[in-house]
């Protein structure tokens, strides 16, 4: 007898979860055997257990998409694995941020499902988000040329990572109600603040997501192309005005010209990727620490070095699967607002992945964005989990609506 859909879904989830658990149990076990550290053996048990809890148990308690959970958990655990190999302290911090990220994801799922007064929420978010984004200019610290960090005691966070979520909610809300000025002024305000902070990578993401959401909501090719041209014009202007932009473009065009100074990071990244070959040099081997800031910007180079090109492509494919799931969820949404919000979250994840991996592979100039889920950083990890939470919230609403349609169909299509 053919298995029911629910059985098939459960089997698919179990197979995927088993593969993920097996991967991490063997990977952490291998690392533990390197120096017989008890922490490695503990992680070889704890990480697969957490993945099992997250993927198998969580959907029973909360409305969550198992596939998205599996992929997001895999990528988060991959980041912890790579950090543990090079710097165990960073790995423990990352594991803690992952816990916070899980809670934030659940909060976002429930916010999407339960919040009805999005108009009020969007109106309140505008001044709050602009103020949050302005904080680094007033109290922030400059790191790697950008002043976009805030330190509260020993804890640092990046406001632009959280304002991403506000941007998606505000733009989606006002675009779905066809009110131009609120979202436009907010987006311009955010871009202005980000330019002042010299966080050009994040500004690029904000601009691209806003423009694509505008196209999704209006279908207006002309204005979208005008917006694209405007963005290109702003990029050229930025190149002419800012010396560090010129430097970044020069390094991108020929990093070998200054391989031991300005181009050192990208050259080391490219050499690491090349030395990995198809299957990598092996987990725990190689020298990822020679790449400057390997744990944030160049984590993809570390993946390719240790696990190889094939695995690197698999990681890329996982991001593609997340984006595919997000896009289909957005298109199935019943209201314009939810569709735009889901699409915005998906675009943000997809574009961010493209920008960072493109930079590492020298396809485009390098920017300061992180690789979602994998890169070290609490703000980045938590905001990526929140984006997944928004997508999952809309997916759970779609499922509820389908069930409601099935219930209405039981009335036989009669008019009440």
């Amino acid at each position: 007898m053919k298995a029911s859909t629910a059985d098939q879904t459960r089997r698919a989830g179990r197979a995927l979860c088993s593969a993920v658990m097996l991967f991490f149990s063997t990977a952490f076990l291998l690392l533990a055997l390197k120096d017989y550290a008890w922490q490695g053996f503990a992680l070889a048990v704890a990480v697969p257990a957490m993945i099992w809890l997250g993927v198998s148990l969580l959907p029973h308690l909360f409305p969550a998409d198992r596939l998205l959970l599996s992929l997001a958990n895999f990528l988060c655990a991959l980041g912890i694995l790579l950090l543990y190999d090079t710097n165990p302290d960073l790995a423990y911090h990352q594991a803690m941020y992952y816990g916070v990220g899980l809670v934030a994801m659940l909060a976002c799922i429930y916010a999407v499902r339960l919040l009805r007064q999005w108009r009020m929420a969007a109106a309140l978010l505008i001044p709050f988000s602009l103020a949050l984004l302005a904080l680094p200019l007033l109290f922030g610290s400059e790191i790697n040329g950008a002043k976009n960090w805030i330190y509260i005691g020993s804890v640092s966070f990046q406001p632009s990572e959280f304002v991403k979520l506000s941007l998606i909610v505000i733009v989606s809300r006002y675009m779905s109600r066809r009110r131009f000025f609120p979202w436009f002024i907010f987006a311009v305000g955010c871009l202005g603040l980000l330019m002042l902070q010299k966080d050009l990578g994040t500004a690029l993401l904000y601009y691209a997501v806003t423009l694509l959401l505008y196209f999704a909501s209006s279908g207006n090719w002309l204005l979208t192309l005008l917006g694209l041209s405007g963005g290109a014009g702003a990029a050229v202007l930025g190149y002419r005005m800012f010396a560090h932009v010129k430097k970044r473009v020069a390094i991108w065009l020929n990093p070998w010209a200054d391989y031991d100074r300005a181009g050192y990071q990208i050259v080391q990244g490219l050499m690491a990727i090349a030395s990995g070959g198809l299957f990598g040099v092996g987990l725990g081997l190689g020298s990822p620490t020679t790449i400057p800031i390997y744990h944030t910007d160049f984590i993809f180079a570390v993946i390719c070095e240790q696990f190889g090109w094939i695995f690197g492509l698999c990681v890329l494919a996982m991001y593609v699967a997340i984006v595919w799931r997000g896009a289909t969820t957005a298109m199935a949404a019943r209201t314009g607002f939810h569709g735009l919000m889901c699409m915005g979250a998906t675009l943000m994840l997809g574009l961010q992945t493209f920008v960072i991996i493109g930079g590492v592979l020298k396809l485009i100039p390098l920017t300061g964005v992180t690789m979602p889920f994998v890169s070290y950083g609490g703000s980045s990890l938590v905001s990526s989990m929140c984006l997944i939470g928004l997508i999952q919230g809309v997916a759970s609403l779609n499922e509820e609506h389908l069930q409601e349609d099935a219930r209405l169909a039981e009335y036989g299509g009669e008019i009440g």
Binding site: L283, F311, C314, L408, Y411, E414, I415
Partner: protein, 214 residues
């Protein structure tokens, strides 16, 4: 563990990790494909998925037949172009004439766009009407341009407790015989003329009397 042994072990495990990576990706895409097929199957069984009812055309132009039924989604745009959620190719209706959205327990809100107008149960609405505008509930009549439409909501939807009484009386419901085996599919419309091609399973309710609730 000695470095050489670890090196050999790690080098050998590369293929295992690559295999698992490929397996995870393959299962993920297989899951995506299966979910897509399942969703298509479910939507095929639910042709009215996403809709809250229909607009039946009481009067329209030459391109809009009387009695034609236009599915009404939960929210969307009504206009004269095909890309609108409800397309009304009649004169005096602009390309994107008005926005509408349904709220459970309230009814269908309509918001004419700038420079457009419509009427709901005889009450004229413009872009400036705001939130005071009347809502469409079951039996309400919407006029946009030369088109006159009556809204029929699906049974089982949440409707407001105090539904407005309809100004035009709906026809009596067809008999059980007519419902079971309609001869030519024609059903009476409010003005007494037969509407060709009407669906046999529509049940015309008796309008509520006084404070009678649905």
């Amino acid at each position: 563990m000695p470095g050489e042994i670890y090196s050999v072990l790690s080098t050998g495990m590369r293929y295992w990790f690559a295999l698992l990576g490929v397996l995870i990706v393959w299962r993920s895409f297989h899951w995506l494909r299966r979910d897509r097929k399942e969703t298509h199957r479910r939507l095929k069984r639910l042709p009215d998925a996403g809709n809250i009812g229909v607009f039946r055309v009481l009067a329209g132009g030459p391109q809009l037949a009387e009695g034609e039924e236009l599915p009404v989604p939960r929210e969307g745009v009504l206009g004269s172009v095909r890309t609108c959620d409800i397309a009304l190719p009649v004169s005096e209706v602009r390309k994107r004439h008005l926005d509408f959205f349904y709220v459970d327990g309230q009814g269908l809100h309509v918001q004419p766009r700038r420079g457009c107008a419509c009427s709901v149960d005889g009450v004229e609405l413009t872009h400036r009407s705001g939130r005071q505008s009347p809502l469409l509930t079951h039996g309400s009549i919407l006029q946009a341009g030369d088109a006159l439409l009556r809204l029929y909501l699906f049974e089982g939807l949440e409707v407001p407790r105090s539904a407005r009484l309809m100004s035009v009386e709906l026809p009596d419901p067809p008999s059980a015989g007519e419902l079971a085996a309609p001869q030519n599919g024609n059903v009476q419309t409010p003005n007494g003329n037969a509407a060709p091609g009407s669906l046999p399973y529509w049940a015309y309710p008796v309008p509520p009397q006084g404070g009678e609730q649905r």
